[in-house]
């Protein structure tokens, strides 16, 4: 069953054409690797999916319905979450505030005054989510800016998973992590697939992409240039598709060596 289909999406900034009609389909529970050189349009494409950018042309459908004109909040409500490379955390706010930003539960203060944010519920749920991820934070009541990089990423991941997403987009989730943390992110991606949640993984770490995805889409110069089944491809083919020409054995060997 197709969850997300990107149909002929074009996007340009001024005179710079970034996306020239991208076509990608993603099934429910599928893990896709999205790879390509810097400037190939990976992040831009994903931002047209989350609604941060509006596509100039083309259609984006989610569960068979067009979401092209929706704003980021509406798309999030449908179950599209993204973990940004810079994590996009409000660093002076605490864990629960970040996880629930834009979706705070409210209650009535003293039973009459409306719209009071229900901090207690938020804290309980936030703590449960952090525990679920098997992470340890010094305290969920501290500003997230006081945490280490890995801990901050846990908060960003918890935010993406708290509201039962159907599609999770991860932009370079392993770029800044230590070895053990990388493994736990990859394990998490496998767990999400088992739960039927689709994942789009953007990464320059091709080994990670090969080890965890079902399919790899290579973006080159704003187009989906290749579509590789992970179990039937190898590093050489992937690197060749990314770079586009020539004998890539040397580069592939270098990547394999990690």
């Amino acid at each position: 069953m197709t969850l997300l289909s990107i149909k002929g999406v074009r996007k340009s900034f001024g005179s710079v054409d970034v996306l020239h009609g991208v076509e990608i389909e993603i099934a429910k529970g599928e893990v896709i690797g999205l790879v390509g050189d810097n400037g190939a349009g990976k992040s831009t494409l994903m931002k047209t999916v989350t609604g941060m950018y509006q596509a100039d042309h083309g259609e984006i459908e989610f569960e068979g319905k067009s979401i092209t004109g929706m704003d980021p909040g509406a798309r999030r409500a449908l179950g599209i979450e993204m973990i940004y490379q810079d994590l996009a955390l409000a660093k002076q706010q605490d864990v629960a505030s970040n996880i629930f930003l834009g979706r705070e539960p409210v209650k009535k203060f003293l039973g009459i005054i409306p719209n009071m944010v229900d901090r207690k519920t938020m804290n309980i749920k936030a703590q449960a989510m952090i525990d679920d991820l098997g992470a340890h934070l010094p305290s969920i009541n501290r500003p997230v800016g006081s945490f280490s990089g890995g801990q901050q990423q846990t908060v960003a991941i918890a935010r993406a998973l708290t509201f039962n997403p159907k599609l999770v987009i991860m932009d370079e989730p392993t770029a800044a992590l230590a070895v053990r943390e990388v493994q736990s992110v990859l394990d998490l991606i496998r767990r999400l697939r088992d739960q039927g949640i689709s994942v789009i993984l953007i990464s320059h770490r091709l080994n990670d992409v090969l080890s965890v995805t079902d399919r790899i889409v290579v973006l080159r110069q704003g187009r989906a240039a290749s579509n590789l089944i992970t179990s039937e491809t190898n590093m050489t083919e992937m690197v060749g598709a990314i770079v586009g020409s020539g004998d890539m054995a040397h580069a592939a060997a270098h990547e394999s060596a990690g």
């Binding site: 798309r75 940004y84 996009a88 834009g102 005054i113 009071m116």
Partner: protein, 333 residues
């Protein structure tokens, strides 16, 4: 400061008190300690300080700046700046007085005129900032001149005297012995504190100031929120203008000159982060009261007013120093 706390001697107690103060009151403990210390010092130095009358005097003197500090807290907390607060306050007083005196409209139109004129000026600020993408500093600096000039044009450069009694009551009435401006100021502070500290609106305000981009990815309409904030800021400046006008019984086109800086000072002393993301109304009220108590106390002690300005300047720098010191120690922000 006369108070010397030594955090090192009982780290647990001090730390816990800090956390409790932040979580329960949304006020930095340091501001409370400074305010408490000031009050104790003044009480020892002057027998008049701790009287009901004097405390009401302090609150009355703080009411106008206090309302402006509320506006400053919202805008600065969202990572913005409103330099037009004082000018808009002056314009609002003139518009309200003009409607009530020159046009002879009922007192309620004086109130509507003040708050409406302020809100419109704020709305214009907000539109220019969110739609024309002119930086807030520039827009509100321009509005500082525009609003001041417009006030002088409307009043023809003269003070508009002789408000109707209904308006006068708002500035000089004393139900139960409490001055009306104090009642209006404290009510406004309570309501806005609730909004900033406990509602979604308040959380989004601080989130925008903290990380605009992440707030946008969370699906919050940042531009619309900013527009509301600047309109609110202008409306509050209008309320301050009304309080001032009613208290001095006239619409003075030169009212509120440089008040925006005093209001910003109060907000910063109270713990608002100048670059956004942190702040509370109660904190800013403590900041405004620190300045009010300092001025009042030095007046009682017959210290020349020049020294008061120096003292407030020193307190501002000291407050931000304490803040930075703590941040460096704990956070990686």
């Amino acid at each position: 400061m006369s108070v010397k706390e030594n955090p090192a001697s009982h780290p647990n107690f001090w730390k816990r008190a800090q956390v409790a103060s932040e979580e329960r009151l949304h006020v930095r403990l340091e501001s409370l300690v400074v305010l408490g210390g000031l009050c104790i010092t003044m009480t020892i130095l002057s027998p008049y300080f701790l009287s009901v009358n004097n405390i009401l005097n302090i609150l009355l003197a703080t009411s106008t700046i206090g309302v402006l500090a509320i506006a400053a807290t919202f805008v600065i907390g969202s990572g913005g700046l409103d330099l037009s607060l004082g000018s808009v306050m002056g314009l609002s007083g003139v518009v309200g007085a003009y409607m009530a005196v020159n046009m002879g409209l009922p007192a309620v139109f004086g109130v509507i005129g003040c708050i409406g004129a302020g809100a419109i000026a704020g709305f214009v600020n907000g539109q220019l900032i969110t739609r024309a993408f002119v930086p807030a500093f520039i827009v509100t600096l321009g509005m500082l001149g525009l609003a001041r000039g417009l006030g002088l044009v409307i009043s023809d450069g003269r003070v508009i005297y002789g408000l109707p009694s209904g308006l006068l009551y708002l500035g000089q009435g004393r139900p139960l012995g409490i001055p009306m401006p104090v009642i209006i100021f404290l009510t406004t502070a309570l309501v806005t504190h609730y909004i900033l500290a406990f509602t979604r609106f308040g959380r989004y305000t601080l989130a925008i100031g903290d990380n605009e981009n992440s707030t946008r990815t969370a699906g919050i309409n940042v531009e619309r929120h900013r527009l509301i904030l600047y309109t609110l800021s202008g409306g509050l400046a209008g309320l301050a203008g009304m309080l001032f006008m009613a208290r001095i019984n006239s619409g003075d086109p030169t009212a509120g000159i440089s008040y925006e800086l005093t209001a910003i000072t109060a907000a910063i002393i109270g713990g608002t982060n100048l670059f956004g993301g942190r702040g509370s109304i109660l904190g800013s009220m403590i900041g405004a009261l620190i300045m009010g108590v300092l001025q009042n106390g030095l007046n009682l002690l017959a210290v020349q007013s020049y020294y008061q300005q120096m003292a407030i300047g020193a307190v501002l720098i000291f407050a931000v120093f304490i803040d930075q010191y703590q941040m460096r120690k704990e956070a990686r922000v």
